[in-house]
Amino acid sequence: MYVLVKEPISVVAIFSSGKIIPRFFIWKKRKYSIEEVTYLWRTKIGSVPIIHFSVTTEKTFYEISYNLKSFNWQLEKLYVA
């Protein structure tokens, strides 16, 4: 089941060679290590670009997003089997 979350998170990511690679995020004081970035796409809210990442941890799938204007990260949704 997909669950809509839409909550702010802190993310540690590598910004290098024109790429962003999120490595882990902190949500509700817990740390989640990202094993794989499985998908990436871009959208805009008004004129603000947003980058979306599908990521997996050991057990769970998450979609997180990065606002290129505010530099805020958000946990958009997760999937629980």
């Binding site: 089941m1 997909y2 024109g18 790429k19 962003i20 794989e36 499985t38 998908y39 796409w41 871009r42 959208t43 805009k44 809210i45 008004g46 004129s47 603000v48 670009p49 980058i51 979306h52 599908s54 997996t56 769970t60 799938f61 979609e63 290129l68 204007k69 999937y79 089997a81």
Partner: protein, 398 residues
């Protein structure tokens, strides 16, 4: 070797939205998955091949799908993700030729006439195209290569998923002899029924039908139908960058029946928004004004417009404005027959804030989401037109 004067490819992504979600989420790979709208009363937009095994089809309600397969995984659709992916695929195709036309969110035409000769066999080129898409997006597609678009479309439908069908010119007549007439692209259900009533069952029957008979039943379209029956289609695949300059970008859609059903009206508006947004992006524009046109069953027609203080670039933004306009109209007094969405106050480009990637690629990606084939009109935007067709079914079943 390819001996025809033209080599046209039709490429159709397999179970597109479901496949994108399965690539995104490893936990749902290989499982029955349905892509649905958001909300309770919604329908299946795309089913993965695993879900299709249970008899789940596009257009079913979620309830029906769950009855067929209780374990089916429901994924709310994410159009912008699919649109982004479509643009990426288009980018790959442009690497092979400029003559690429996006026909709908998961379908493309390509004119490979001048390129295919560089390969030992046509298969080699098609395999390479499929491989590149697979490598860069992990997605599969079904391809049909033929002397024209009509036959290429037919070919891509003949083998699915992951199909590769080549219709050689010398085989065309054999295929048309066996092909039920309504399998020809562009011949809808009702035309198919009418043709059958006239004793025209196979495509070749249509090709051999007396021109006057077809003309008396279908007017000028009779001539086109006859050409189709003979497997003739001279329409071209334009270059991806060919487009016109316009001051406004609008599109209209007549509903399959007059309705007061707000779900259906909103689905139609969403479809129109997707269509005008993609055209706007194609032209590298952004818009300040949105107009919503409503025609009632008695043909009373009116438009309401709203201008915002910034340039809109996304479908969601434009759709939200349409919903506000709809709200401001208040209660609809009569069933709605036609809806239209028009963008104006267009500006060149948008303020780009990208920090990453090369800008050039991004703007090329954004530039042209769908060059919609006006000839075939509203089949092109898939998700919402399916919403509408299924709503149509639901309406008739009730």
């Amino acid at each position: 070797m390819w001996h025809s004067s033209r080599a046209i490819l039709h490429l159709d992504m397999d179970a597109y939205f479901a496949s994108v979600e399965q690539v995104s989420n490893p936990f749902i790979r290989g499982k029955p998955v349905i892509i649905t709208g958001v909300g309770e009363r919604t329908i299946v937009v795309t089913a993965s091949y695993n879900a299709r095994k249970y008899g789940i089809k596009t257009g079913m309600t979620v309830y029906q799908a769950k009855r067929l397969c209780p374990g089916v995984i429901r994924v709310p659709d994410n159009l912008e993700k699919y649109v982004y992916t479509t643009l990426k695929i288009r980018e790959i195709l442009i690497g092979f030729t400029d003559r690429v036309k996006m026909y709908s969110i998961d379908k493309f035409f390509m004119d490979l006439t001048r390129k295919i000769k560089k390969y030992n066999t046509p298969e080699d080129m098609l395999k390479e195209i499929k491989l590149r898409i697979k490598r860069e997006t992990k997605l599969k597609c079904s391809c049909g290569l033929a002397p024209n678009k009509l036959l290429a479309k037919l070919g891509s439908n003949m083998e699915k998923p992951d199909g590769l069908v080549i219709i050689y010119p010398e085989k065309v007549m054999d295929i048309l002899k066996k092909l039920p007439v309504d399998k020809l692209h562009g011949i809808g259900k009702s035309t198919g029924i009418r043709l059958r009533q006239m004793g025209i069952a196979k495509a070749s029957d249509l090709g051999n039908a007396p021109p006057d008979l077809l003309k008396s039943h279908f007017g000028f379209s009779g001539h086109i139908l006859r050409l189709m029956g003979n497997g003739i289609d001279n329409s071209k695949v334009p270059c991806y960058w060919e487009h016109r300059k316009e001051k406004s970008i609008g599109h209209y859609h007549t509903l399959p029946f007059d309705t007061l059903d707000m779900d259906l009206i909103k689905a139609c508006i969403l479809m129109l928004c997707l269509r005008v947004t993609t055209r706007m992006r194609d032209k590298k524009r952004s818009a300040k004004t949105v107009a919503l046109t409503v025609r009632y069953s008695d043909f009373t027609t009116f438009s309401r417009r709203k201008t915002v203080g910034y340039f809109m670039e996304t479908m969601q933004g434009i759709y939200n404005i349409c919903l506000k306009i709809l709200e401001s109209i208040g209660e609809l007094t009569k069933p709605v027959r036609l809806l239209g969405v028009t963008l104006s106050g267009l500006a060149e480009g948008g303020r780009q804030l990208y920090l990453l990637d090369d800008l050039e690629k991004e703007s090329r990606l954004n530039k042209a989401i769908s060059e919609i084939n006006d000839k075939f009109g509203d089949f092109t935007i898939k998700p919402a037109s399916i919403l509408i067709m299924s709503a149509d079914k639901r309406f008739k079943n009730n």
